[in-house]
């Protein structure tokens, strides 16, 4: 007797699962950076165009394939064509890499969350040096938030060659992170379906609270104005368009197999076209919403730093020239400086090197993305807010929800093909399969808790998924349109859902989206080839800042292996299927004719 496939309890659970998977950390820490780099308000133009032209069609395609084939990525592509199960295998491999390094971010978020219950926050003060006369030197040169991140959290080594030992604190947090993920995926859609209500909705509550708090902060409007003033000339920059396309592509999580896995648990009559449009619009709106919050916080931090800098200059001048307290203010600073320069030229020239040029623009221009934004810039802003413990707890709780929501999709991409496979599921119950996958990922993830772990994390983050995904989605689109047949797929969908396929989707799947992906792929390849050696940012403890270094040969080998291991699955499995078919055709068919 065949077990019926588990289903989502309501279509709403499916939508929430897709939203909580697609809305992840990238919406919070990558989109605001891109917006800032490529012209602020005018970046929204290429972003929305790419959403409509690339995001929605590809998302609909994946959901439709999953819902139609009702299997995980390997089984679904095997149904499309037996030579194409390599695409599914490549998706599983990429998802495996992603799971391994993505949960480390959750571990870091847990670490910060646990440290938020102290007064004062540990990243707001520098620790004292040996004879208690001042602060630790590394902390003086950098800032206390950078010191806490690089030294206390990561305990980072000066370069990728010196790997050091596994740090037990992040390792414990990683174990906890994997335990939480296991708890959520333990029962399959039954447990995942309930968890996604929280992981999809709660981050919006926190973002809204932060929006209200952020907009009422002093100096928030500076950040918002800076971000949203459109710089129209950036529209002519091809990089803006390429980054918009890339952001839409990776933000929706296409090509990992998670969307196919989620859709395979749908009722066949589910209207996935409507859901695809809803999910993609919500994902993009969340990015814009999160960037409003981020920029009001940026504005607050920049204004705070600018005013502290001014106060330091005022104090310095007051002390050097024995001026009356309160005589110097931010408004008359320039005039008084000119007066002092002319009245006491020799003394002024002594003091002059110490006077910093405070500029609000330069504070705002420090564009940061990724872990730097989440764990350094945001914490710096939070430590200056009133009741900073509360804001810190809320913020890291939101990061955890976003991260775990995405992890649910990532693990579903690996587990669905495994549980679909009759061989494996006959030996082990799905709880055991999930447990084994989590254990394997946790063990490999210990690599990222070593001293050089953050450098390996950057390698995985930048190279494990980018090229492979583009190729996977390209093969997927071409396979559905030309191998399986667009008209055949159209009639399948019509029989399944009852709606006819709009000409727009056909045009996009058949022509525009594959062309876009090919151009993105060519751009990335040429970018890698032109820049020659790949470089990374290493933390120099002596200087208290990041320095650029070249990757050593063994790191480059790992990068090549990462990219090759997923891409090579496609041709290798196709070749393997071809060979086994040829061999089988050689032997006579043993099955009796009924």
């Amino acid at each position: 007797m065949e077990k019926t496939r588990p289903l989502w309890a309501t279509p709403l659970q499916f939508v929430f699962a897709c939203i909580s998977y697609a809305v992840g950390l990238g919406n919070v820490w990558r989109f605001p950076y891109l917006c800032q780099m490529y012209g602020g308000g005018s970046f929204l133009v290429p972003y929305i165009i790419m959403l409509v032209v690339e995001g929605m069609p590809l998302l609909y395609l994946e959901l439709a394939v999953g819902q139609r084939m009702r299997q995980g990525s390997i089984g679904a592509w095997r149904t499309v064509s037996p030579y194409l199960s390599g695409v599914g295998v490549a998706s599983v491999v990429v998802s495996f890499f992603l799971c391994t390094y993505y949960n480390v971010i959750n571990a870091w978020a847990f670490w910060y969350l646990f440290h938020s219950f102290q007064d004062p926050l540990p990243w707001s003060v520098c620790p004292l040096n040996g004879n208690r006369t001042g602060y630790v030197e590394e902390c003086e040169k950098a800032s206390s938030t950078q010191y806490f991140w690089y030294r206390k959290t990561l305990n980072i080594s000066p370069s990728i060659q010196e790997s050091g030992a596994v740090q037990w604190e992040p390792a414990l947090c990683l174990v906890l992170a994997w335990l939480v993920v296991y708890l959520c995926i333990l029962r399959g859609t039954e447990s995942t379906g309930k968890v996604v209500y929280f992981t999809a909705l709660l981050p919006y509550c926190v973002l809204f609270i932060y929006l209200v708090r952020g907009l009422t902060l002093h100096g928030a409007t500076n950040g918002l104005l800076y971000m949203f003033t459109p710089k129209m000339e950036q529209l002519a920059n091809p990089k803006a368009w390429i980054n918009a396309a890339t952001q839409i592509f990776f933000s929706l999580g296409l090509g990992f197999g998670s969307l196919i896995a989620f859709a395979s648990y749908n009722e066949p009559s589910n209207n996935c076209q409507k859901h695809a449009i809803i999910v993609s619009i919500i994902n993009s709106s969340t990015s814009i919403f999160a960037s409003i919050v981020t920029f009001s916080i940026y504005g607050f931090k920049a204004t705070f730093n600018y005013e502290s800098c001014l106060n330091k200059v005022i104090l310095l001048l007051t002390n050097s020239f024995d001026l009356e307290d309160g005589f110097l203010t931010a408004n008359n600073l320039e005039q008084v400086k000119d007066y002092l320069a002319s009245a006491y030229p020799s003394k002024y020239s002594e003091v002059f090197p110490q006077i910093k040029n405070c500029s609000l623009e330069s504070e705002l221009e420090t564009a940061v993305q990724g872990t730097g934004l989440a764990f350094i810039v945001y914490t710096e802003a939070i430590k200056n807010m009133k009741v900073s413990q509360l804001w810190s707890v809320l913020y890291f709780f939101m990061l955890l929800l976003l991260g775990i929501g995405s992890m649910l999709g990532n693990t579903a991409a690996i587990l669905t093909p495994l549980t679909d496979s009759k061989v494996i599921s006959s030996y082990l119950p799905k709880e055991a399969i999930s447990g084994l996958v989590c254990l394997a990922n946790c063990a490999i993830g210990m690599l990222f808790t070593m001293k050089a772990g953050s450098y390996w994390f950057d390698i995985f983050n930048d190279y494990a998924a980018t090229l492979s995904l583009l190729l996977i989605v390209l093969v997927e689109t071409v396979a559905v349109c030309y191998l399986y047949g667009l008209s055949r797929f159209e009639s399948d969908l019509k029989a399944m859902t009852g709606h006819a396929l709009n000409w727009y989707w056909k045009a996009m799947w058949g022509g525009v989206s594959p062309l876009l992906i090919i151009s993105l792929f060519i751009f990335y390849l040429s970018d890698y080839i032109i820049t020659g050696t790949l470089q990374y940012q290493a933390w120099d403890a002596a200087q208290g800042q990041l320095v650029t270094k070249d990757y050593p040969p063994h790191a480059l080998a790992v990068i090549g292996l990462l990219v090759a291991s997923s891409i090579m699955c496609i041709p290798l499995v196709a070749l393997g299927t071809l060979i086994t078919r040829r061999l089988r055709r050689g032997d006579p068919d043993p099955a009796p004719v009924a």
């Binding site: 646990f114 219950f117 004062p120 602060y135 333990l186 024995d322």
Partner: protein
Amino acid sequence: MVAFSMRKVPNRETTEISHVLLCNVTQRVSFWFVVTDPSRNHTLPAVEVQSAIRMNRNRINNAFFLNDQTLEFLRIPSTLAPPTDPSVPIWIIIFGVIFCIVLVATMLLILSGIQQHRRKHKGPSEMEDTEDKCENVITIENGIPCDPLDMKGGHINDAFVTEDERLTPL
């Protein structure tokens, strides 16, 4: 105050106020001072004075109701108060609590899953026994089994009550 501090230093117990000389007093309440050695008529080295002041900084501050930020001794770095270090770091406590909760929840889910599994396995095995019994009663004519309509898991349609029960017994 300065004389008092110097008196705390061994070998300098005899320092008097008259041995502390002030100079360069400005309107902004800042001045330079030196401490002279009573017997030998020279000024004491700065390092000695600095360490003495450092040890008694708290008392000097309190005498003027000032603190390290408002009463500054140039070239005497203030001793900073270290942040309070609890014996068990707070984060481990919270980590332990959450870890235990998650572990217990996971165990509960796994155990209930195993129980459901066992119940499912007991259920189908009972059904298989009744099916075997049905199989034995299948009539076979000409080697072809007749379809035992009434024996194969037939559903009793409760809408049709048997006639006997309707009529009152005679």
